[in-house]
């Protein structure tokens, strides 16, 4: 049975009249790797700072293992933070940085030495104990920051975009490393990122945030395959939004008309009515590009093709101007696989892989959100 470690209830926070967190509830389980994902300004960092105790909520309660810690100062919370820019003490050696938290606990010298050595070994920095932070690379500083936080054996480790300052390759290595550490230590990790790819590959659960509200809470697979709303669908991965219309409702099955194609689908969890418009969502990898003489699909022409190594990504413009993103794995047995720009094709998708969403009142996305989503892809 999953045990609740941290419980955030009805948290609100305003900065200068701007609402950063809006009556937010969140339950974090003991031992899980949970990611707070969202564009900049969504409130994810504020939420983390409230867990750490750096910011206090205007309203709401934070409890840790059932104990109210809402007003507890950071130095008395059994949680530790890995900061975005490491925040190492520049005047102390690596050893002293890691030992700092234990010295504050007034641990005996011998114990401090043992535990610091152990923590440094865990992040493979045993040989760097005497160095100063400025003599280390970015990745090594990052490891020191992690060792410094875990040496206190916190109940929970809070990581504020810890990998954003690293280059792509190092980031990948550290992702694997962090997962390993989390498994070995069995500590709950709360990880803040705006990188959806990072969130998908590392987390047990993802909290998608926007405007200080939880948009969706679920496993990476749930969030990717069954997005709860248009924002989540657009923010996490790439999605084709096709306009659909309900043509038949029968028990838990419905028929939806998409581009004149009739699709039989199971009834979505939201209320639907006959002739209602809704979004039919398809990920680029669900799309199939067919030959122009195929009987299935919708006619269109290739307007963009992008060779990605393992996949071929293309954009197909349909006759009514809608652009469809497709991502296909290479099929070496199919000589006709590659397309040239301008080539006429037909577009279809794997039956039953559609995901339905109700139309929302605040669509479409504002430019700001588009920009934020773009940012997140880098």
């Amino acid at each position: 049975m999953k045990q609740t470690l941290l419980f955030l209830s009805n948290l609100s926070k305003q900065f200068g009249g701007k609402t950063v967190l809006d009556s937010l509830d969140l339950e974090i389980y003991d031992g899980e790797f949970i990611t707070l994902l969202g564009p900049s300004g969504c409130g994810k960092t504020t939420l983390l700072r409230m867990m750490a105790g750096f910011d206090l909520p205007d309203h709401g309660i934070v409890t840790l293992s059932g104990v109210d810690i809402t007003q507890t100062p950071p130095e008395q919370r059994p949680l530790n933070t890995v900061f975005q820019n490491y925040a190492l003490f520049p005047h102390m050696s690596v050893f002293d940085n890691v030992a700092y938290g234990l010295k504050m606990e007034k641990r005996p010298k011998a114990e401090i030495r043992d535990r610091v050595d152990e923590a440094l070994a865990m992040v493979q920095l045993e040989d760097f104990a005497k160095r100063k932070p400025h003599q280390l690379s970015g990745g090594q500083q990052q490891r020191v920051a992690i060792a410094r936080a875990v040496v206190k054996r916190p109940k929970m480790l809070l990581l504020d975009e810890p990998l954003s300052a690293l280059d792509y390759k190092l980031r990948r290595t550290m992702q694997v490393e962090l997962k390993r550490l989390q498994r070995e230590l069995g500590i709950t990790f709360v990880f803040v990122t705006h990188d959806q790819e990072e969130a998908l590959s590392m987390s047990d659960r993802i909290v998608v945030l926007k405007d200080g509200r939880v948009q969706q809470l679920g496993t990476p697979r749930e969030v990717y395959e069954r997005p709860a709303n248009v924002f989540t669908a657009r923010f996490v991965g790439q999605t084709n939004f096709f306009p659909g219309r309900v043509t038949r409702i029968e028990g838990d099955r419905i028929s939806v008309d998409v581009f004149g194609l009739n699709r039989e689908l199971s009834k979505p969890p939201f209320r639907i009515a006959m002739n209602q418009s809704l979004h039919v969502l398809l990920r680029p990898e669900d799309i199939r590009v067919l030959a122009p003489d195929d009987t299935d699909g919708v006619a269109g022409k290739i307007v963009e093709r992008n060779y990605k190594g393992s996949t071929l990504d293309s954009v197909i413009e349909l006759e009514d101007g809608i652009q469809v993103m497709a991502s296909e794995f290479f099929d070496e047995d199919d000589p006709a696989f590659d397309y040239s720009i301008g080539e006429r094709v037909r577009v279809s998708w794997v039956d039953g892989w559609e995901w339905l969403l109700a139309e929302e009142s605040d669509e479409p996305l504002t430019d700001e959100e588009e920009l934020a989503a773009d940012d997140a892809e880098h």
Binding site: A52, A87, E105
Partner: protein, 286 residues
């Protein structure tokens, strides 16, 4: 790739200017002072051969040693007071809103536009027996008789603090500005309270600013001879007064030169300590 001087006339001109400046206006005068300090006093030509170390020996004369120590004492007091006022001042300055910060720094610098001699005379008017401060205190009923404020050690220290405080605040402000907020949060996060964070993180990280401020205050505080001249009377002399008197009144140039070299060496020592403290933080040449 290095370009030749012909290809970079501007660069060459700047280099010549800088080195020329250092050579003729810094190195040469200082060498002259060193030279003067090892020569013999002469009533008609001020200095003459033979070379000797009499001037330095004279520094250990108990009379001068006492002046030197008293001067050092007043300078140290000045520096401590500047530090005690300047440290919280600089901290507060770095925490106000950016636009107001500029205004406050501007206000800090405005007094420099008035000659410091004039400002010291202004201070004399305030501290005088029937000056502003005494009148104010008497009309408030705090004291019955005017207090002797002028021509005391305290008056000299007040004058020095008044003139030198900005030199303490500015370098401190600069280190507080560079002090990263997340490093302080990290300290709290790791279990340190306010006091432990102050002693373990804030003090070491602002130490270069403290030393820079001390350098900018301590040495001038031993040399600003006009402050004791105006506020201190005959007993509260600075090393600066001794040097001035040797050159202008006693006409003992070698001794004046030797005393000023001792001051320069004290300065060099402080600069060395400052460099060490910065290197510890990895700010210079890693």
């Amino acid at each position: 790739m290095m370009l030749s001087i012909k290809q970079q006339p501007f660069r060459a001109a700047v280099l010549v200017l800088v080195w020329g400046w250092l050579l003729f206006l810094v190195l040469a005068p200082n060498m002259l002072v060193v030279g003067a300090s090892v020569m013999t006093r002469d009533p008609s030509t001020f200095i003459a051969l033979p070379l000797n170390l009499d001037a330095y020996r004279q520094l250990f004369n108990p009379l001068y040693l006492e002046v030197f120590l008293h001067s050092l004492y007043m300078a140290v007091m000045t520096t401590l007071i500047c530090l005690l006022i300047g440290y919280p001042f600089a901290w507060a300055l770095s925490h106000v809103e950016k636009r107001r910060q500029m205004l406050l720094i501007f206000l800090l610098i405005v007094p420099f536009w008035t000659n410091s001699l004039v400002r010291t005379y202004a201070l004399k008017l305030i501290l005088a027996t029937n000056g502003l401060l005494n009148s104010a205190l008497m009309s408030l009923g705090v004291i019955e008789e005017p207090a002797q404020l002028l021509y005391t050690e305290g008056a000299v220290v007040v004058g020095l603090v008044y003139l030198l405080l900005p030199f303490m605040i500015l370098p401190l402000y600069s280190v507080f500005e560079d002090l990263r907020q997340d490093v302080l949060l990290a300290s709290h996060d790791l279990g340190a309270g306010r006091f432990a964070t102050f002693t373990n993180v804030i003090i070491p990280l602002t130490l270069p600013g403290v030393l820079a401020g001390v350098m900018l205050v301590l040495l001038p505080a031993m040399g600003l001879f006009f402050v004791p001249d105006i506020l201190g009377g005959s007993r509260n002399l600075l090393v600066g007064n001794v040097i001035k008197n040797q050159f202008l009144d006693a006409r003992n140039w070698p001794f004046g030169a030797a005393a000023s070299i001792v001051l320069t060496f004290t300065m060099a020592l402080l600069m060395f300590a400052h460099r060490l403290s910065k290197r510890r933080l990895g700010e210079e040449g890693a």
